[in-house]
Symmetry: C3
Subunit: 183 residues, 3 copies
């Protein structure tokens, strides 16, 4: 039978979007100011912008957030990034206005082709449309779009797109009900 051979893995085609010096600089800034107990959100937003993130107004970034590459990150107005959130954006992540990503959630942009001996890296952009709520300790998988005002509940894993104004739960996340607003 065919077997995996990680010594043959080759991601030389991958464009990280910044040179080694910029990546190393960001790695240190992320470690010290973003993925740490440092609490002042405004300074974190400023640092992310300096490294190329497009970030709107009224964005709140809690402590211990881990962001791979700010130059592949777009965040609109009034978005909340909870404590211990991990945005592992090897490729573009777009977060529209009024999105809440709760504590401990993971946005995962990297996958592997497990059908190939070479275990090729496969990327998938993530888009969270306006009003989406990503619950605590939940995970959004590569390539997933969460449409307007979708909800992913606590600890769930979104492996495919979430429809607008629907609520999903479980692993893989299943539609459980409508998100109906009160009048």
């Amino acid at each position: 039978m065919t077997t995996t051979d990680l010594s043959k893995f080759n991601n030389s085609w991958y464009d990280p979007g910044a040179n080694a010096l910029k990546r190393l600089s960001w790695y240190c800034v992320n470690a010290v100011w973003i993925n740490s107990a440092f609490p002042i959100s405004g300074i974190k937003v400023m640092l992310l912008r300096m490294f190329g993130a497009r970030i709107g107004k009224g964005v709140v970034i809690k402590p211990h957030v881990n962001i791979k590459y700010p130059w592949k990150l777009t965040i609109a107005d009034h978005v909340w990034i909870g404590e211990d959130v991990w945005i592992d954006n090897l490729t573009q992540v777009v977060i529209e206005e009024n999105v809440c990503i709760s504590q401990g959630a993971l946005l995962l942009c990297g996958n592997h082709n497990y059908k190939k001996e070479t275990f090729d890296l496969v990327l998938g952009e993530i888009k969270l449309e306006k009003g989406v709520w990503i619950g605590a300790k939940s995970t959004v998988c590569p390539g997933v779009t969460c449409h307007s005002h979708a909800v992913l509940t606590v600890g769930s894993v979104a492996t495919s797109n979430l429809e607008a104004y629907k609520i999903y739960q479980g692993n893989p996340a299943q539609l459980i009900r409508e998100r109906q607003f009160m009048n």
Copy 2:
């Protein structure tokens, strides 16, 4: 359709239970002594008590534990808090004697009313009755009581109360069997 507007979020009604100076002090103490590699449990218990936690005897607190507000925390005798446990107690958490919270578990006290444009904060107290076991990487949701000697298995999510002497698994956690003791 109605949309979420996080700019209208208002939690001014919320009482954190301590003034800003005390909260900032705890934030630093938590970052340095509790949510860190510092290993001496007795000193951690002492610090938590200084900030208002009621903690019994024989309590073990492992490294990298994250506690929001000690003045909203009650822990009885002979309780174990595992490594990387997160007690996000925006409101009261009560842990009775002989409870084990295993590594990586989360006690989550904050929710949001996703049916309101204003995404209101909703709190729910958590109570873990005596002999309860919260498994590694599992989550207890806001407002949940785990009754005497209930077990939440590894990676499961308790979204409603757990009955006494029962074992629950999955997301949402379902009853899978009785907890029967050997003679």
Copy 3:
């Protein structure tokens, strides 16, 4: 009814495999060099070997990895240990060649006998055979063997052995399909 009494817990039979000084030294080395932002994999491999780990060539260890006891760890050639992976190896963990453990995964070797008043520690060795892929934020439970080229998907919990060349998902992880390689 019988109740848990953690004051009667007794793990004096347990052999950590190293004296207190060596364990304390490792605890510090792990905290500073392994379970931290320190990025140079080769130095981490060297440190692990100094403390008794058997590690092959071409092994990559990402930042924020947490390893309990290197002297109970065997890693073959061309293995990847992702960021934030936790190898909680109270007992032996054996990882064969070409295994990928993705970010945030947990290998859990300790359990408790919840049927006993004394909540006895129960250990279970973990073996990941060649070509296995442990997905991001997933958990392998004590005593589980993942046979050759098995896949545990994102956020899943392996509570029993995984068959060779099969893919598992959920909590508890269920077989969902074959892992078929392309020609």
